[in-house]
């Protein structure tokens, strides 16, 4: 319990986390708050109002080239996304792929609209993977395109149904943004000061919200400006995990890794049509075959019938108690009001309604395959239904 946090890296908000009573734990080499008042309360607060998350441990990166087409092509050599077709002011979810079709990391990449941002893609790598990603990307970049690690900025996520109202009160530019749009903006900090940020309407909770990149020396003032609103509370990593699990969002190193393909992980939406036709991304052999024939296993939602959480690593048992997979994320879903899990199962067991057993510490307990997400997404999508 007496964790030595002195060897860990700190984000620009470390002192604020301590001041707010955050319980600090090691996470991916950083000293991060796992909770403030309690995970369940923080989870509900985010679903009902707005939660403020420090995600500054994540790896902010800029892929820089002479113009968009060159930069986009460089990223397309490593991912299955359509970045040449990414419009200014838009963001996409994608992943770095290995030649075997496994995933090096999953991340967001945004194209900002300003002239000064021409030729740049703003990316956010997972904290546990950012150095690995840097090596992987740099070894494969063409001349003229570079990957820059942004070390002097913090990243805040404001998530929940009240997030847009809170942010709009401090910044007029964001009201018109829809899900997966990105922009530069100025946020008022009080005292007549303001912070220049770039942000996207996205997140990792299944709720409407924003991820906001801000200069490290303005991060605390920005966090305090948000927290001054009665709808906003600070939220730790514990609720971040339960929120994303209920939203059915895979977590790198748990639900996806270098052995899992994006088709197995249910991420086929991020394999662009144009790229499927060209088949010009790493791992295309495996991935295209899985797209046409179906993968041999699939990541599915699992609902244990009892009240006890089933944890990562529990075996999934099919007929005659044969092991047909493993739980990759599992815990208690506060909004669901009971245990929830995700795991890979043999394709014969992947349909919703399939009954199976999960063998955790209490022995085999019944569970059912259920559709993901456990809790519907509440993203702010354009009303017109226009194709994005």
């Amino acid at each position: 319990m007496a964790t030595d946090i002195s060897d860990l890296k700190r984000t620009p908000l470390f002192e604020l986390h301590q001041e707010l009573g955050g319980r600090i734990v090691p996470f991916a080499g950083y000293a991060m708050p796992v909770q403030y008042d309690g995970i369940i309360g923080e989870h509900h607060w985010t679903r009902d109002r707005a939660g403020l998350f420090d995600v500054s441990h994540m790896g902010q990166r800029i892929l820089k080239g002479p113009h968009h087409e060159t930069t986009a092509k460089a990223l397309e050599r490593l991912t299955p996304g359509d970045f040449q077709g990414l419009k200014p002011g838009r963001q996409r979810y994608t992943f770095l792929l290995l030649d075997n079709g496994g995933i090096v990391d999953d991340f967001m990449a945004a194209r900002l609209a300003g002239e000064e941002d021409e030729g740049r893609l703003f990316m956010v790598f997972n904290a546990s993977r950012k150095e690995i990603d840097d090596d992987y990307v740099r070894e494969r970049l063409p001349d003229g395109v570079t990957l820059e690690a942004v070390e002097d900025r913090a990243l805040l996520a404001l998530q929940g149904p009240a997030a847009a109202e809170v942010l709009s009160g401090l910044c007029s530019e964001v009201a018109d943004l829809t899900f997966m749009q990105a922009a530069r903006a100025e946020i008022r900090l009080g005292d007549g000061r303001s912070a220049k940020v770039h942000l996207s309407r996205s997140g990792y909770t299944g709720e409407d919200g924003f991820e906001i990149s801000v200069a490290a020396d303005e991060a605390e003032a920005l966090a305090r400006a948000f927290l001054a609103h009665e709808a906003v509370k600070p939220i730790g990593l514990g609720a971040r995990d339960s929120l994303r699990l209920e939203a059915g969002l895979p977590l790198y190193g748990h639900d996806i890794d270098e052995t899992t393909s994006p088709v197995e992980a249910g991420l086929r939406f991020a394999i662009a049509k144009a790229r499927r036709e060209r088949g010009d991304f790493p791992g295309a052999g495996r991935i295209l075959a899985e797209l046409s024939d179906g993968p041999s296993r699939r990541l599915v939602g699992l609902k244990p019938s009892g009240r006890a959480p089933v944890r990562e690593g529990a075996q999934i048992l099919g007929a005659s108690d044969a092991v047909i997979g493993e739980v990759t994320s599992g815990g208690f879903g506060p909004t669901v009001g009971g245990p929830v899990a995700m795991g890979y199962v043999d394709r014969a067991y992947a349909d919703p309604g399939t009954e199976l057993h999960l063998a955790g510490r209490r022995g085999a307990e019944p569970a059912e395959v259920v559709p993901l997400p456990f809790v519907p997404h509440c993203y702010h999508r354009p009303k017109s239904g226009a194709k994005q």
């Binding site: 995970i39 514990g238 009240r307 815990g331 245990p339």
Partner: protein, 123 residues
Amino acid sequence: MTTRYSKEHEWVRLDGDTATIGITPFAAEQLGDVVFVELPEKGKTIAKGDEVAVVESVKAASEVYAPVSGEVTDANAALEDAPQTVNEAPEGDGWFFRVKLSDKSELDGLMDEAAYKAFCEEL
């Protein structure tokens, strides 16, 4: 009534030959929100050091080890529907189970309140 404490952060409250056992406020605070408690069955004979219960928080599962030996005479069934009682009243309604002691001298190996308080402060 005498209350003793284990290094595993259980409290043991003696009433005659029977001890009521739960986890301390310190342990409940460290665990965070409790979402499930698995308790020993009535009539089960347990020995000091046995893994007798499991308490699951949102984040993780933790074992509860028997601080004393004896026969389980009661388990707190209310925790099944309201596991959060462990956080709300760890030393009251959030009790785990009761044991008819087979060896009352085992209590001598546990800490009194002052010793336990000092123990926690060193953690």
